[in-house]
């Protein structure tokens, strides 16, 4: 056994996707957005793991499942730091960082208590007007929510 290799806190997978560097506290949210709660193959996940870059992080390993860019980008708003690592036969074949999309449908709650999305049965929809500082504009009430006020559904 290679002694230099770090001990894995979460088991390795043979084939599938590792979602690494999920910000502290957002693992279940990412699972939810990617609809992994209904996924039938093996999933390992870990939270509060030590990270050199971010202090604490979360990780999800999904067996035999690869994600399209459009699926990956949906998690960008909850986990902008996340990395997607595709694994085949225990080897990394591709690493991608998530990209913030132009629009978010569902997922985010409008912070404006007077917005129609908080009163009627309407799916929320936001345009991302500032990707760097994460500012979103509600398609309905047109109010702008800053990063620190973003709440998830």
């Amino acid at each position: 056994m290679n002694t230099k290799k770090k001990e894995l806190k979460v088991s390795a997978i043979a084939n599938g996707t590792v979602i690494d560097h999920i910000p502290q506290g957002h693992v279940s949210k990412v699972m939810n957005i990617l609809n992994l709660e209904n996924f039938e193959d093996q999933i390992y996940f870990g939270a509060n793991l030590d990270s050199k870059k971010y202090g604490k992080k979360g990780i999800i390993k999904v067996s035999n499942r690869y994600f399209k860019d459009s699926e990956i980008n949906k998690i960008a708003i909850v986990a902008p730091t996340a990395t997607m690592i595709e694994i085949k036969d225990y080897e990394v074949i591709k690493k991608t960082s998530v990209k913030i999309p132009d629009e978010v449908i569902g997922i985010v709650k409008c912070f404006n208590p007077k917005c129609v999305t908080n009163h009627e049965n309407v799916i929320t929809r936001f345009t991302i007007i500032d990707k760097e500082n994460l500012k979103v504009k509600c398609h309905y009430c047109e109010k702008i929510t800053k990063k620190e006020h973003i709440e998830f559904l």
């Binding site: 404006n112 009627e120 309905y140």
Partner: protein
């Protein structure tokens, strides 16, 4: 613009807005053309608004159209707990176009996405009131002969006044508009709107004294300062009388100056201004009828 809803002033391009203003001139010259005699327009006022509702209903009636609807939600099925979606679905089956006012922000946008019946937003909470903006633009164009190269002062509550925000955004589409923003410290124009002015390549100046702008401007757009906007009642008492326009203050103003106000007025324009030829707020309200006629005719494909 056929079958297109008007929810926010940004939904229409500059050219489309100018086209509506052009059509409004035709209705001003001849407001009683019976072009809507085969149409039923729904007027759904989920909260009361006398002026806007009567203006729309007058516009429709003068064109020979029929109006159905309600004047506040207590006399509608909303009181029984019906969803907005169901109300709009049903009313769409009874009418060709829906005019709606609703206290919830974004409700008009939501309504416009339920089916193909066009919606005109007559105000959705503090969000948008695009027909007010159109009539303000029409009034400016009519009194100044142009929408370019104007000095426009906005006075009063620039923080919460949605008519101010919409008009600033609309006037930012025109060449060399210079914005003069007069308000108490607490009620300054929101930063996002000021950034919009700058991103359009235009400039603004901020003042706390109304007298500093009266002699420089072509348009003086007055708004009401409401006591409930102040966290500290003492602050309100301090400023409440400093944004009142009196006739004597207009002595050295430009000849082409016109005073606008979205109405209702309380005391921010003294009644002694009413007889001054520069007072234009009542004609402004009348222009609302022509602009709404133009909008209805465009959306129904009749112009």
């Amino acid at each position: 613009m056929k079958n297109r809803s008007l929810i926010s002033i940004n939904d229409y391009s500059k050219e489309e807005l100018l086209k509506i203003l052009k059509i409004a001139e035709e209705f001003e010259a001849n407001p009683r053309q019976k072009i809507l005699s085969n149409y039923v327009i729904a007027s759904l006022f989920f909260e009361p608004s006398t002026r806007t509702r009567l203006s729309f209903e007058s516009a429709i009636n003068q064109l020979g159209g029929r109006v159905i609807g309600f004047t506040d939600s207590s006399s509608s099925s909303v009181k029984k707990g019906e969803s907005l979606r169901d109300t709009i679905e049903t009313v769409s089956l009874y009418s060709d176009l829906i005019v709606m006012r609703h206290p919830i922000e974004g409700s008009a946008r939501f309504a416009s996405e339920i089916n193909d019946t066009p919606i005109i937003n007559a105000g959705d909470g503090a969000n948008q009131h695009p027909t007010q903006c159109l009539l303000d633009m029409y009034s400016i164009q009519k009194t100044q002969g142009t929408l370019d190269n104007l000095d426009i002062a906005f006075v009063g509550d620039l923080k919460y006044g949605r008519t101010v925000h919409s008009l600033v955004i609309a006037m930012s589409m025109f060449k060399n508009t210079r914005f003069h923003l007069v308000s108490p410290e607490e009620l300054k124009l929101p930063r996002a709107v000021k950034e919009f002015i700058l991103s359009s390549g235009l400039t603004y100046e901020q003042y706390t004294d109304i007298n500093a702008v009266i002699e420089k401007v072509d348009i003086l757009y007055m708004t009401r300062i409401q006591a409930e906007r102040f966290a500290d009642p003492i602050e309100y008492e301090k400023v409440k009388n400093s944004y009142i326009l009196e006739n004597s203050m207009l002595e050295n103003s430009k000849d082409n100056l016109r005073i606008l106000h979205p109405l209702p007025r309380v005391n921010e324009i003294n009644e002694d201004v009413d007889t001054n030829d520069k007072a234009y707020y009542f004609q402004q309200a009348q222009n609302g009828v022509f602009v709404r006629q133009a909008l209805l005719a465009s959306i129904l494909g009749l112009r």
